[in-house]
Amino acid sequence: MVIEDACGSRRALLGGVGVTVAGGAVVLLTGCGGSSPAPAAVKTVPVRVRQIDVGIFNRSLHLERRSIAAYTAGIPLLTGSVAKAAEQFLSQELAHAGELLGLIHAAGGTPIPRAPSYELGHPRTAAQVLSLLEQLENQQLAAYLDAIPRLSPGPVRASVASILANDAQHVSILRMALGSSPASAAFVTGRN
């Protein structure tokens, strides 16, 4: 399954999501999740995003875009509540990509060009799609875990951790849909 990147067609969804760039290398991390409003320290204090972290953000952006392509292509093979969940996860992955784009711009960096396509194998059944999505989400988890300790300052790490936790939840639901244990390990590594 070679999938053309579908991000362009979803660009409208990215407006205003996740990050507001306020000039130069400063960004307000507006966090749009959790079960309560974001802590004031993250929501209102400008954060300087380091240019040296642009490489990390771009690698993560590539992985998010790949997952977005996989969800976009795979959802038609899913049905019922699983399909609806996957549609929601697609929206969330788009939001993650938007956040990363905002961080890159805030750091004065340049986002990597979108890949023209992604090699995603040839899933033909719902189970194969779900397995592929789980695999891609796990790869994101592993990448974010490698990234977080290297990122600075703290609010940037927190923003990325909030993405990681959401991706961990995606893995849970995907595994549930596959009939596997939704929380198989005490420490989420992306390699569980």
């Binding site: 300790p149 936790a165 244990s181 989420v188």
Partner: protein
């Protein structure tokens, strides 16, 4: 629902968390030593806070399971989550020990646990559970606070290995939220993961 954390995994965690204390041997100046000591002390305080909270979480899970208020699939699922919460306690305990921190005490009894829950604005009280759904709602509320605790630790911690450990546990707590939500609302997969950015409750 998966296996207990293996002894090897827990040992790996201990070694990882314990590497924090080795940094001092590479220092070359008193100023840098002072800075490192301050950072280590700050990390110790944060790990202590996280551990104290995880001890509360563990107490609540233990009481819920001991009360036999849950049965069937819900009980099996919560048992597994309880095992994972104990693993979190173990990893944080080792990390705190390596930092030279003083281990906090867990709740002494249900009243103390309920007081702690109230202080953290967790809805539900351990001493007032009226059935399985009450217990699940309490656990769900607690896990949302757990998410928030680890989210906050991202700005409080400095040591890379502790940051990684904290992020791994945050991922786990987020999965616990998902599992418990689906136990309460079977089939509502979309509502189980409502937010693109998980920040928990603080």
């Amino acid at each position: 629902m998966g296996s207990d954390p293996s002894r090897r995994e827990l040992l790996r965690r201990a070694i990882t968390a314990g590497a924090v204390g080795v940094a001092g041997s590479a220092l070359r100046s008193p100023a840098r030593a002072l800075g490192a000591a301050s950072a280590s002390s700050s990390d110790a305080a944060e790990v202590g806070r996280l551990l104290r909270f995880e001890l509360l979480v563990g107490f609540v899970y233990q009481h819920v399971l001991a009360s036999s208020i849950l049965s069937g699939d819900a009980r099996k699922a919560v048992e597994q989550l309880g095992v994972q919460e104990r693993a979190h306690v173990s990893a944080l305990s080792v990390a705190l020990d390596r930092l030279g921190g003083t281990p906090p005490a867990g709740p002494a009894n249900i009243a103390a646990a309920d007081k702690d829950l109230a202080g953290r604005r967790v809805s539900g009280r351990l001493g007032q559970l009226r059935g399985g759904r009450d217990a699940l709602r309490l656990l769900l509320a607690l896990e949302h606070v757990a998410e928030g605790a680890y989210y906050g630790s991202m700005t409080a911690l400095g040591d890379p290995k502790l940051l990684r450990l904290s992020a791994e546990i945050m991922g786990s707590e987020a999965q616990h939220v998902t599992v418990i939500f689906v136990l309460l609302h079977p089939g509502e997969l979309t509502q189980a993961v409502p937010y693109a950015f998980v920040q928990g409750r603080r």
